[in-house]
Symmetry: C2
Subunit: 357 residues, 2 copies
C-alpha cells in the first residue's frame, strides 16, 4: 500500500474554535479524523481523512465485550515561527504495533501511520494552540469491530486518529502533585498486559485513582502485582527518583509501560552525564532514602504531562515531603529541555523533532 | 423508577431465522434489544426495548480508549412444553453490579434489569432454539460513552441487552477438551480486575489462547499471577477436580470470577452429599494426584458450556490424560442435573429456575 493512497475529504462545516486557554484535557476535538479499515480478505485498507464524525457499530462488536483495542498518545507543537513539530512519532507507531501483538490485533504499516499522522495534523494545524504549554494531543487507536460474542480475536478492525487541543494534563501544571502509594489495588502483573497500551489497564486503574482522589491525592503510585513492594508507575506515567545524586527509574519488567518520555529522559540524562539507572526499586528503598535525607527529587514522565514533579508521597499513614514540596531543579531542567526541543525553542541534538510539512 | 416504564417498540422488519442446528456461537442476533441510558443529571433512565440496531458513538467515547465496561452472560431455555426458563438471573444482575463497583460504573436497579431481561426474552421467544442442547444466550452489558480522553470515570453510560441463539460453546460439545497449563501469560492478579466481568480480562487472555490453539489445545489453564503455581480458571470457565473422591475447586481469591455455574455445582454437590471444598490448589497438587492415580476427573464450568470435561492437561511437556480422556461420571451427572433443571426436565429443589411469563 502506497502512502499517497490516503484520500482526503475536507469538512465543509468547520467548528468554531474554543478559547484555547480555558480548555479541559481531551474534551474538544478538531474538524477531521483519520480512518483505516481491516478485514481478513483485504488487510488494512482504505486509509482516509474525513470530517470528524461518530462511529457506528453493531452492539455485538467485540470492542464492547472483550476490549480488544490499543491506543497511542503524542502531541503536535506549534513553534514561535508557526512551524508544527511532532516528537519521536515513529516511537509511538512502533509501540502501537508492539501493543497490537500482545492484543492479537494485526499490525499497521508504519509508513502509512506516520503519513496519516502528519497529513491529519497538517489539515487541522489551525487547531494547535499558540499558547505557552499547550499543544494538539494526537490519539491513534484501533478497535475490534466484528459482531461476535465468542472470545476470539476479531476478524475486522478500525484504526483511527483523532486530535484534541490540550493544556496541561494536571490542573497543577508543572507544579508538584501529591501521590498516594497504592496498597490494595494492582495495575498490572508480569504476564499480563501492563506493557501494552490497551484499554483494560486504564479501566482497572480508575477505582484506586478515584479513592486516592477522595483523600486529596492526584494519582497513585503503583506497586508490582507479585510482591506488592516494587515500584512500577505513577498514575498513567513512568516514575523517576533522584537519590543522592543518582537518578533511578524502575526497569522494564514486562508490566510497565515503555514510555517514550521515559526513554527520552534517560537519553537526555546520559547526554548530560547525570548518573541514571534502570533497576528494581522497592518502596522501602524510597522510604529509606527519604529517612536518610537522600531522596532529592521524584517526578512522573508521560506525553500528557511531560514532567510531573511529585511533592508528596503518602505511604503507610506517613507523608513523605520531597524537596520541600517544590519542583526539583533537575525536574525543571528536564521539563525545559524536553518542551524546548518539542516546541523548537532549543537545538535538538538527538533528531527527535519531526517537522510537519 | 417503576419497571412498567420500559417502553417497547416492536420491529416491523423481522429477520429470517437461521437453521438453528448449524449456528456458530454468538454470531446471530435476534430482532430486538434492550437499552437504558445513564447521565449524571438523570441517573439511569429511559429503559426501552427497540429493534436490534447499531450503536452510534463519538470516536472519543471512553469505551474505545479506557475500556470502562462490564458484561454478563446467561441463557434462556425452551422446555418441551414450550415454557421459557432463565437460570438464576438475579445472580447475574448482582454480579453485574459488583463488576460495576470495581469499574467505577453506576449500578443498575436490579428490578428493572430483571424485568428487562424477561420482557426482551419474551418478545423474542421464537428465537429460542427448540433443539436439544441449544439455548438463547443473553448478553447484558454496560459501556461508557462520554467523549473524554482524560483517564477518569465516564459521566455517561449505556446499558444494553442483546440475545443470540446458540449451540454448544465448544465444538466438542460435552466431549472432553484438551487444555494446556499456561506458563508465560497471566489472566489476573489479586488487586486487579480478575473477579469482575470486564472486557480487559478477556482481551488480555486472547494471546495465550491463540498460542495454545496452535498446539491443538482448546483453552489454557491459568495459574495465579503472584506465584505462578496456584490454579485459577480454565479459559473463561471456573475449574473443578475430583481427587480421590473429593471434588475441589480454587477458592475465590479476588482474581477468580465468581461463576454462577461454579456456585451451583458446589451447591448441587453438597445437596448430593459429595465431598466438595474450595481451597488453594497448586498445579503440583494436581500433578501429584495424577501420578498417584487419584486424579479422577477434571472439568470446567460456565454459562456458555455448562460443564466442559477436561480429557487432557498439558504441563511441562507432559500430557496428563484424565479418566482415559473420557467424560467423567460425575461431570456427566452434574451436566444432566444442571441442564435438566435449566430446561425443566427435572425437579428444581433449589428454586433456581425462573419462568418467563
Amino acid at each position: 500500500m502506497k502512502s499517497n493512497q490516503i484520500t482526503v475529504e475536507i469538512s465543509d462545516n468547520r467548528k468554531e474554535k474554543p478559547a484555547f486557554s480555558s480548555l479541559q484535557f481531551g474534551k474538544t476535538f478538531t474538524d477531521h479524523m483519520f480512518v483505516m479499515d481491516y478485514t481478513e480478505d483485504q488487510g488494512w485498507h482504505h486509509p482516509r481523512i474525513v470530517p470528524y464524525q461518530p462511529i457506528t457499530l453493531d452492539p455485538a462488536a467485540t470492542i464492547f465485550h472483550y476490549g480488544q483495542t490499543v491506543f497511542e498518545g503524542l502531541k503536535a507543537y506549534l513553534s514561535e515561527n508557526e512551524e508544527v513539530f511532532l516528537f519521536r512519532p515513529e516511537e509511538n507507531i512502533k509501540r502501537l504495533n508492539r501493543s497490537c501483538e500482545r492484543l492479537c490485533i494485526p499490525q499497521v504499516d508504519e509508513e502509512i501511520a506516520l503519513e496519516a499522522l502528519q497529513k491529519l495534523v497538517d489539515i487541522d494545524r489551525e487547531w494547535i494552540p499558540n499558547v505557552e504549554g499547550m499543544a494538539l494531543y494526537i490519539r491513534p487507536f484501533i478497535i475490534s469491530t466484528e459482531p461476535n460474542l465468542d472470545v476470539t480475536p476479531s476478524k475486522s478492525y478500525t484504526f483511527m486518529i483523532i486530535l484534541s487541543p490540550v493544556g496541561a494534563f494536571y490542573k497543577e501544571g508543572i507544579n508538584p502533585v501529591k501521590i498516594a502509594v497504592e496498597q490494595e489495588y494492582v495495575r498490572a502483573v508480569r504476564g499480563g498486559t501492563g506493557n501494552a497500551k490497551t484499554a483494560g489497564n486504564y479501566a482497572g486503574a480508575m477505582l484506586a485513582q478515584k479513592q486516592s482522589g477522595k483523600s486529596g491525592y492526584s494519582q497513585v503510585l503503583w506497586l508490582d502485582g507479585k510482591e506488592n513492594k516494587y515500584i512500577e508507575e505513577v498514575g498513567s506515567m513512568n516514575v523517576f527518583f533522584k537519590i543522592n545524586g543518582e537518578v533511578v527509574t524502575p526497569e522494564l519488567s514486562g508490566s510497565i509501560l515503555e514510555g517514550i518520555t521515559r526513554k527520552s529522559v534517560i537519553e537526555l540524562l546520559k547526554h548530560w552525564n547525570v548518573p541514571v539507572s534502570e533497576r528494581k526499586i522497592s518502596i522501602d528503598d524510597i522510604y529509606d532514602a527519604y529517612k536518610n535525607g537522600q531522596l532529592e527529587e521524584a517526578f512522573g514522565t508521560g506525553t500528557a504531562a511531560v514532567i510531573s514533579p511529585i511533592g508528596e508521597l503518602f505511604w503507610k499513614s506517613e507523608k513523605l515531603i520531597i524537596n520541600d514540596g517544590k519542583t526539583g531543579e533537575l525536574a525543571k531542567k528536564i521539563y525545559d529541555a524536553l518542551t524546548g526541543i518539542q516546541t523548537g525553542k532549543v537545538e535538538d541534538p538527538f533528531g527527535w523533532r519531526v517537522t510537519v510539512q
